[in-house]
């Protein structure tokens, strides 16, 4: 059983906070259970699969699209707060039933997403405990994920530092290598140049012995 608990404020009484719990098996489109609580009382109602198809047909909307709209409104709750209008109206004093409706506001029109009659729960405490327990489980799970991500983060950071050091050392050794090679090349090359100079001198002397004797005298 998947579950999502959120806080909502009825359009007709925006100072009062209600807690909305949506529970569904695997796919939201296979139907879901709505539980509403004001912290003291609780109401619940089921939206069966057939109802979802009927609603989509009434709105002449593709079923998948309608289910996606439901998901965005009831579970993801993405987008600005005024994107959806929620309202609850108790049918009579006993509050035995209440009417729950959820609308999506577009520019100048709003269309009804969910509208159903909820039955008051004889023991709201169970529903409320379920909501708080679900929230505490979420918090624990998110804490675990957060810790795991933080550890992963630290590992990646240290890997990245390590890689940075290796890259710097690679660049450094490349420069040293270049320097080292040039030094050796220069040594060997200058040896050869010295050899050429001495050969050129000898050749000069051999080609002009007379000149050299005079020069030497």
């Amino acid at each position: 059983m998947e579950r999502k608990v959120s806080r909502i404020y009825p359009a007709s009484d925006s100072d009062t906070v209600y807690f909305l719990q949506i529970a569904w098996e695997k796919e939201l489109g296979t139907g879901f259970v709505v539980t509403l609580s004001d912290g003291r009382l609780a109401w619940t109602g089921k939206v069966p699969e057939a109802e979802i198809s009927r609603e989509a047909a009434d709105m002449e909307m593709e079923r998948e699209k309608y289910v996606e709209e439901l998901r965005k409104a009831l579970i993801l709750q993405t987008g600005p707060a005024d994107k959806y209008n929620f309202d609850i109206s108790k049918e009579e004093e006993s509050g035995e039933f209440c009417h729950f409706s959820y609308e999506k506001n577009l520019k100048d029109v709003s269309f009804r997403l969910v509208s159903l009659k909820l039955q008051k729960l004889a023991s709201p405490a169970e529903a409320i405990k379920e909501m708080v327990s679900y929230c505490l489980d979420c918090i624990a799970e998110l804490h675990t994920k957060k810790e795991h991500l933080q550890k992963e983060n630290e590992r990646l950071l240290s890997d990245s530092d390590d890689m940075q050091r290796r890259l710097e050392s690679c660049v450094e050794t490349k420069e040293q290598l270049e320097e080292e090679l040039y030094k050796r090349f220069i040594l060997v090359l200058n040896e050869k140049k010295a050899k050429i100079r001495s050969l050129q001198k000898l050749l000069g002397e051999a080609q002009n012995p007379a000149e050299n004797t005079t020069h030497t005298r």
Binding site: E179, Y182, K183, F185, I186, L189, N190, K193, A194, I196, R197, Q200
Partner: protein, 39 residues
């Protein structure tokens, strides 16, 4: 001129490196970079 050409041919190899004057880092780098151009 042919003379200058002849002179350079005696003094420098085809990569422009002197046969007799000792080389250093800057000059050798220059010679090597010319080899690249020649390629």
């Amino acid at each position: 001129s042919p003379d200058t050409k002849q002179h350079f041919a005696c003094e420098y190899d085809r990569y422009g490196d002197s046969y007799t004057v000792d080389t250093d880092m800057t000059q050798l780098k220059e010679v090597f970079s010319r080899i690249n151009d020649i390629k």
